[in-house]
Amino acid sequence: MSLTRPAPGPETAAAPKAAKKISKSRQGARTGPPVDRSAARHRANLLEAMLRIRHFEERCVELYSAAKIRGFVHLYIGEEAVAVGVNEALTSDDALVSTYREHGHALARGIPAGAVMAEMYGRTTGCSGGRGGSMHLFDASRRFYGGSAIVAGGLPLAAGLALADHMRGQGSVTCCFFGDGAFAEGEFHETANLAALWNLPLLLACENNLYAMGTALSREHAQTDLAMRAASYGMPAWAVDGMDVEAVEQAARRAAEGIRAGTGPHFLELRTYRFRPHSMYDPDRYRDKAEIEQWKARDPINRLIDRMRDNDELSDKELARIEHRLVEELDRAVDAAEQAPEEPIQNLLRHVTSASTGVVS
């Protein structure tokens, strides 16, 4: 078996076509070709999806500071291009497994902001009925199998979802998000081996944000080229610029197409960065401020806005309209969460077993 690594080299090699297009649009500025309306519309959708996550999480910071929401809250700010870009490659029949830093994944998947916010408030209208909180968002109707707060714990489960779909010939893909920290866990390696051995339709979407909580990549991995290591399991694996939503989308589409064509699991190392600390508790003593600023200069939202402006696809007015709509959506989500009922104490033991849930097998 040969090690397949179709796009070795620098990050942008993942999506050569997109890379070409991007550089052209950058250089071409306003003298470029006429606006491709469908591509422009698509970019507007990507932008709105990323902005929804950004606004949602900035609101979470306010609400956390006001003690409206509690528990661990892990913010995704800076990483939005990954969730939004990968989700573009998935259909509603595909399954998704997430981590404890999952607001972005959930919103990109289409779980309404109101249901996620209500979950942050621990209310019955939350997408997990208030049992899960920030780290455990679920929506079975969207095949969103939720946030695992055990690093790498979602990976074996994702392999099982892929196995079931594979055994029944469903033709769907299971995508599992996890981070560079999970890559150090045995469960990642067990799952990568199993998925490759059984040719499972699994997209391993590694969000490499360079830190496993406070431990830098180079302090936890003897070999920091994660895509190369994943390729050693006999699956296509390559690194992608995770700060470029269109590059992520291109890569994820290519991987998903390969998976749907029956070539087994694919691994994407999505190189990204969180602008905020690990969680609301984290004093962020382990990162250089200059490093954070360097990455902020590559903000995936600003990058897409710049690109769209260069293409004459986005006016200030249109951007303001999008942001206004999102703020209103969030206001409604927060209001609804504030007013939503809390679970009565007598329901404490509900959902421990199906008998207490009313689920019939």
Binding site: M167, T191, S354
Partner: protein, 331 residues
């Protein structure tokens, strides 16, 4: 041999378990078996011998030595509508998958607000008595019985070995089946019944009036021999087979103690923090005024199970220990 005979015949616990697996695979195409060496090898203890030939490698699936991955894969497959049966060679190895069992299988339903039941069956061998030393011999089912969200059963008879699996597969939640390694060769009558068994109730394996010997799994045969010896001495022991370790059948335990007013709890696990401790506590909570004396416990010595035969035998509950405990309780 078919499943639907009308006359009793001889069988073994191992064959009964295999028959249960074959019936499950035949009757529901969502069911598949996976684990280490379940296919070509025929199962570490020979339970699944011949199933690969009948059902093929998709449904009798050999796995790498990756307990966490294949147990987690069972959970994921269950979420996606399959009915997986995952075999783990021994309970000691199951610790490599404890994360998946506790943090996912037992937790997903609640954590998701009731959206994600996990209809998964996990079978594993437990217990000592075969000189397999300290990493193949422990009885950790009591740890699993600690966990809300899963059902834990321990078939101790040939009939339960044959029939518990089918009921477990109808449960929308995870069921862990603990098969004591010393039982596989146990032989006995294969009754013609195909009536489903429940996984809620303990069973009285021998009625009695003087003392309740409450046990499960691999200790049941020892308890029955002890009851014979006690009977010869004029002590009538009632032997209660818990069958289901979670949830415990409080009613059956209480009713037996109310009849006999004495209790010995026999559990091959270590005494401290054991299932025997839980049963004793429940007797104290519910049946204290029925008791004519303290509850006795017969458990394993608090030592990693040793290899040497004499030492291993000394570490485990033996018939003589049960008889002695019964005497202490009633005298």
């Amino acid at each position: 041999m078919g499943a639907g005979g009308t006359e009793t015949s001889k069988t073994t616990y191992r064959e009964a378990m295999r028959e249960a697996l074959r019936d499950a695979l035949r009757s529901d195409d969502r069911v598949f078996l996976m684990g280490e060496d379940v296919g070509r090898y025929g199962g570490c203890f020979g339970v699944s011998l011949g199933l690969l030939e009948e059902f093929g490698p998709e449904r009798v699936r050999d796995t790498p030595l990756s307990e966490s991955a294949f147990v987690g894969a069972g959970i994921g497959a269950a979420l996606a509508g399959m009915r997986p049966i995952v075999e783990i060679m021994t309970v000691n190895f199951s610790l490599l998958a404890l994360d998946q069992i506790l943090n996912n299988a037992a937790t997903l339903l609640h954590m998701s607000g009731g959206q994600l039941p996990v209809p998964l069956v996990i079978r594993m061998t437990t217990g000592a008595g075969r000189q397999l030393a300290a990493q193949h011999s422990h009885s950790l089912e009591g740890w699993y019985a600690h966990i809300p969200g899963i059902r834990v059963v321990a078939p101790a008879t040939i009939e339960d070995a044959r029939l518990m699996l089918a009921t477990a597969l109808t449960d929308p939640d995870p069921v862990l089946i603990f098969e004591h390694g010393s039982l596989y060769n146990a032989s006995g009558e294969r009754t013609p019944t195909t009536a489903p068994v429940d996984l809620d109730h303990a069973a009285i394996r021998r009625p009695g009036t003087d003392i309740s010997v409450i046990t499960y799994g691999g200790s049941l045969p020892k308890a029955l021999v002890a009851a014979d010896e006690l009977a010869a001495e004029g002590i009538s022991a009632e032997v209660v087979d818990l069958r289901t370790l979670r949830p415990l059948d409080d009613e059956a335990i209480g009713a037996s103690v109310a009849r006999t007013h004495h209790a010995v709890v026999v559990d091959e696990a270590w005494r401290t923090g054991s299932l025997a401790a839980e049963v004793s506590a429940r007797i104290a909570e519910r049946s204290l005024y029925e008791l004519d004396g303290p509850v006795e416990r017969v458990c394993s010595a608090e030592v990693p199970i040793p290899y040497a035969r004499r030492l291993e035998e000394a570490a485990l509950p033996q018939t003589a220990d049960i008889v002695a405990a019964a005497h202490r309780a009633v005298d």
